[in-house]
């Protein structure tokens, strides 16, 4: 089942823009790109929440920092994606290392709140950068440049996003099966026992937090390219809430949880906006229903149906 599902999924993602093009819906290539970028950010958050067992409520900060890194570098004339995108991930990684070093001293609700606090600090810090747009954000002069692909072309950019998302999903699956991922699984289920076994739990969790932060930074770099703007709103707490909602909606700790969550939430928004003025109301109702009746999210629903 799974062996067929994954290549099929990838094939569908690759064929999609041609179908949209053939049916005169090119506009939706942009929509799909945006959804997949959020899917990447949510997948990164899911690595922290679902694999590492840490409920972080400030992930948008790393997402936003990635966007700003690309925008600021471009502002200084550096446009090469192979430079700026890794730089975005690196900046986000450094930031998440700092945040994690302090936040991981706390547990549970306090961890939720302290990660939120740091994200808000970064939000206000970015707002104060008047040289880089302040409240209004920093526009990108163009898309980042790659030797082989023409990223300014929406189709090429879409393929780049698909490739990076697929790579990230594969990477996380690989990590999960490796020693590091097994250690995380142990920490998630019984942290005290892992300590007693002699695992450096703090450093393992920190590494998990940093990896998740770095991938979110990469997603931010893509987002800046997609919208042509690094906006402070990318770092605001409601954005962190949205990412967390995607993860919970899709399925915490499920490999495709982030992807499913972004797909369903943003897809639902897009669809409802087309048919009703008050789409947010129905999105809310849908989320409430999922929260009430699908404790393991959409991934749980799908798995449940397959097993049952």
């Amino acid at each position: 089942m799974k062996r067929i599902a994954e290549p099929a999924l990838l094939a569908a993602a690759l064929v999609l823009p041609f179908v949209l093009g053939a049916t005169g819906n090119e506009f939706y290539v942009g929509v799909a790109t945006r959804i997949l970028i959020f899917a990447l950010a949510a997948t990164a958050l899911n690595f922290i929440v679902g694999y590492g067992g840490m409920v972080a409520f400030g992930h948008a900060a790393f997402f936003g920092l990635g966007a700003y890194t690309v925008a600021i570098l471009m502002n200084h004339g550096i446009t090469a994606a192979w430079l700026t995108w890794p730089a975005a991930a690196a900046v986000a990684a450094v930031a998440s290392l700092g945040v994690g070093l302090i936040s991981l001293r706390t547990r549970g609700v306090y961890f939720i709140m302290i990660t939120l606090a740091f994200a808000q600090m970064l939000f206000y810090l970015v707002v104060s950068l008047k040289a880089y747009g302040g409240d209004d954000g920093l526009p990108l002069a163009s898309r980042s440049a790659l030797p082989a692909l023409d990223l300014a072309d929406d189709l090429h950019f879409y393929f780049a996003v698909v490739a990076l998302l697929a790579a990230a999903l594969a990477l996380f699956a690989r990590i999960d099966a490796a020693r590091f991922g097994r250690a995380l699984a142990g920490i998630r289920q019984n942290e005290t026992r892992m300590e007693a076994l002699g695992y450096p739990v703090f450093r393992l969790k920190l590494a998990c937090f940093v990896i998740g932060g770095a991938v979110a930074g990469l997603a931010g770099a893509l987002m800046a390219n997609q919208t042509g703007l690094a906006s402070p709103n990318l770092l605001y707490w409601t954005q962190s809430g949205m990412l967390l909602v995607m993860v919970i909606l899709g399925g915490v700790g499920s490999r495709y949880g982030g992807l499913l969550g972004a797909l369903v939430l943003l897809g639902l928004e897009e669809w409802l906006a087309a048919i009703t003025e008050h789409s947010a109301l129905w999105v809310g109702v849908a989320l409430l229903l999922v929260a009430s009746f699908a404790p393991r999210g959409i991934a749980g629903l799908l798995a449940g149906r397959r097993n049952g």
Binding site: V55, I102, T106, G108, S128, G241, V285, V290, S292
Partner: protein, 304 residues
Amino acid sequence: MLQLFLEQALNGLQFGLMLFLLAAGLTLVFGIMDMINLSHGSLYMGGAYLAAAAVERTGSFALGVLGAVAGMIVVGALLERLVLRRFYQRDHLAQVLATFALILIANETVRIVWGPQPVMLNAPEALSGPVEVFGFSYPAYRLLIIGVGLGVAALLYVLVAKTRVGMWVRAGAANREMTEAMGVNVPRLFTAIFALGAALCAVAGALLGPLLAVQVGMGENILILAFVVIVIGGIGSIRGALVGALLVGGVDTLGRALLPTLLRSLASNEVASNLGPALASILIYALMAAVLFWKPQGLFPARA
């Protein structure tokens, strides 16, 4: 300079007291029911809108506030009975999802009823002017807010510290099962607490309405401040909420007023006016991070 400081200190007190009204309900719900309620800010928004509607209908500010309080008590109790109660036993993630959904629903409902534009809520005519205090003039309406805030805080203190219901609430926060075993109907107590929290939100929403804009989304901005307050104070502690609220209100207001001035004496004008407001906003989050770093359970942990 002294006058500026005093005036800003009063502003900080006023803001802190309003934050306390929001944080008091939030900390009880959080501490006792172990429930993260992101939609608490929506109750505040609901209170402001109801007050605006009631003032317009009755022409009386006082009646408007009372109407908002009565309305939000009903809304709060219904919300608890029909929706939130299902999530007490669930994990925090499910609570985040559900109450985030409630924010979306609340915002859109308000938009449907009152439209997307901000609505007007004016301070009562009689209090629109300034009065003399400590040798300088200060808006009378803000003094009213301080007065009401102090009064409600005192009432809450008596309720929680001196009455049997208050003892149940504290006992319930520390050990729910034992409280039930002593004969307290905890589910009913929860509904009452939630309704009380909604009433306090309504007071804050109605009183702050004339100062801040009554608009969709007003709850989200202040919600996070309320969370900061209760985390600083210690989740579940009313005393902690009061101390935390006054700290956050004071630090935020004084920081905004004084930091740019302070920076100007250290750096260029331009840097100061750019950096000042941001630093002031960051201040309270830095405060919270610092508190959690040294006291990971907040200043007044409710559970020993």
